[in-house]
């Protein structure tokens, strides 16, 4: 499993393919601290106004902030707006 992941990473690097597609990991775009777009997620684990935990491949993405609101939530994209203070990856 770890081996195949390594192969994929090397393949993506050598062929200059987008890593988020090849490795199936999230692509996160932030606009200042007011908006965050997460592509390629695996679902939502916890949602409160101060904390959002999103399942991603091989772990959890934790976003802390104030007045967080799920602006758009689709199968492969989440848009969060609000005041983002902290972003944390946990395996």
């Amino acid at each position: 499993m770890k081996n195949s992941h390594e192969i994929k990473r090397k393949l993506a690097e050598s062929l200059e393919l987008p890593k988020d597609i090849i490795l199936d990991i999230p692509k996160i775009t932030m606009i200042g601290d007011i908006q965050m777009n997460i592509e390629n997620h695996k679902g939502i684990i916890e949602y409160t106004n101060n904390c959002i935990r999103i399942k991603i491949k091989d772990g959890i993405l934790k976003i802390m902030g104030k007045n967080l609101l799920l602006k758009i939530i689709l199968k492969d994209e989440i848009v969060i707006i609000g005041k983002i203070q902290q972003v944390e990856f946990t395996l």
Binding site: G43, I44, L74, K75
Partner: protein, 393 residues
């Protein structure tokens, strides 16, 4: 995103409240079943608010059953809901439709006829001919042929050289251009004289046909014969009347004068003032607060506001704010040089309006007289002009 919001409004959406314990699971199931939720906001631990489209609202009820949560619709937003509400009120639709039709029909009639550009022909005459050719106040704009009426107007009134009729809204504008009458011409074969049309001192006489009766330096008054058409050759005993023809140039004078007072009374504000408000409806003025004018010498400043004004249509309602200032009269002697300059300029402008264009100005004489605190200015301008005029004997 405006487009997205507009689309959402047109397709309709509901704001729902989901109450339950496994809310994250609820959202996940929604995602997996392609139910589009947006603007999700957590109110408290067991309550979230979200927006969902009408179509997905039915699906969401099934999801709620699975997760064991409660769904309440808080608000319905969008065009379909509005349309449903309207559908029940048939009279309202009928009324709106009826008033629209009424409005369109009302605006297809002509309410006012305006004649622009006529100077000598009375507007009533033009309007009367318009009425005769089928265009009057109250006729429908879709049933009249404007070009035909224009032609009719031109045929009926000979003094017009051009007519343009246009309809702007409920107003009919008739633009007319009058003919400028051509100067009277006497045919070459008819015997005539050339006479003076104004006072002048003869400067030059050019005779092309006929006999010059005046020479340089003569003073002529209106009506004097300048070039005669009567030819007489005594030796041969011929006496003949011709069509006199030529140009007579003479010095003519244009004069203008004006008197101004040098001592001026100036009203100076003392600072005391009284304000009063007046509402004007048409021609009736209604005083809002009763304040009489307490001053013997005063200046009134009026400021009017028209509150109901839309483009060039206005209701005859006016709010007037009147400010009455107390004043003291002060006598002041004006600066003579300045007054002279102003007076001179005014008179010159006045004179240049009187003098026909393209004339050669020879001299100008300016004269100032100060008498009894009054300044009198007199300007004479000397020009050379053709004073000849054809006249049948």
């Amino acid at each position: 995103m405006l487009v997205l919001r507009l689309w959402n409004y047109l397709s309709g959406y509901v704001i729902i409240q989901i109450e339950g314990l496994a809310l994250e699971e609820f959202i996940n199931i929604c995602i997996n079943r392609n139910i589009y939720l947006w603007d999700i906001y957590k109110k408290n631990n067991t309550l979230i608010e979200a927006k969902v489209s009408i179509k997905d609202h039915r699906k969401i009820i099934k999801v709620a059953k699975i997760t064991g949560s409660n769904i309440d619709v808080i608000k319905k937003i969008g065009y379909p809901f509005w349309f449903n509400k309207i559908k029940k009120r048939k009279m309202l639709i009928f009324g709106a439709f009826f008033s629209l039709i009424l409005l369109i029909t009302m605006f297809s009639f002509i309410f006012d006829i305006e004649v622009i550009g006529n100077e000598t022909i009375p507007s009533e005459k033009i309007v009367k001919i318009l009425n005769d050719s089928g265009l009057s106040i109250g006729s429908n704009r879709y049933f009249i042929n404007l070009r035909e009426i224009e032609n009719n107007l031109l045929l009926n009134i000979q003094e017009l050289s051009w007519v343009g009729i246009e309809i702007s809204g409920v107003k009919l504008k008739v633009n007319v251009v009058e003919k400028t009458p051509a100067p009277l011409k006497i045919h070459k074969d008819i015997p005539s004289n050339i006479v003076a049309k104004k006072y002048g001192i003869i400067e030059k006489v050019i005779v092309k046909n006929g006999k010059a009766m005046v020479s340089e330096g003569d003073i002529v008054s209106p009506g004097d014969i300048l070039i005669s058409g009567h030819m007489e050759i005594e030796d041969l005993g011929i006496s003949q009347y011709l069509h006199a023809y030529g140009e007579v140039y003479a010095k003519t004078y244009y004069e203008s004068e004006k008197t101004v007072d040098l001592i001026k009374t100036i009203k100076e504000k003392t600072g005391e003032k009284v304000t009063r408000k007046i509402i004007k409806l048409g021609k009736i003025e209604i005083m809002l607060n009763k304040t009489n004018n307490p001053y013997s010498t005063y200046v009134i400043q009026r400021e009017s506001k028209k509150p109901f004004k839309c483009r060039n249509i206005e209701l005859p309602v006016e709010i007037i704010t009147e400010e009455i200032y107390e004043t003291i009269e002060i006598k002041k002697t004006a600066d003579i040089e300045k007054e002279k300059e102003v007076l001179h300029r005014i008179l010159i402008e006045e004179l240049l309006d009187k003098i026909p264009r393209n004339l050669e100005i020879l001299n100008s004489y300016t004269n100032f007289i100060i008498k009894n605190d009054k300044l009198k200015c007199n300007i004479i301008i000397e020009v050379i002009e053709d004073i000849g005029e054809e006249k049948i004997q």
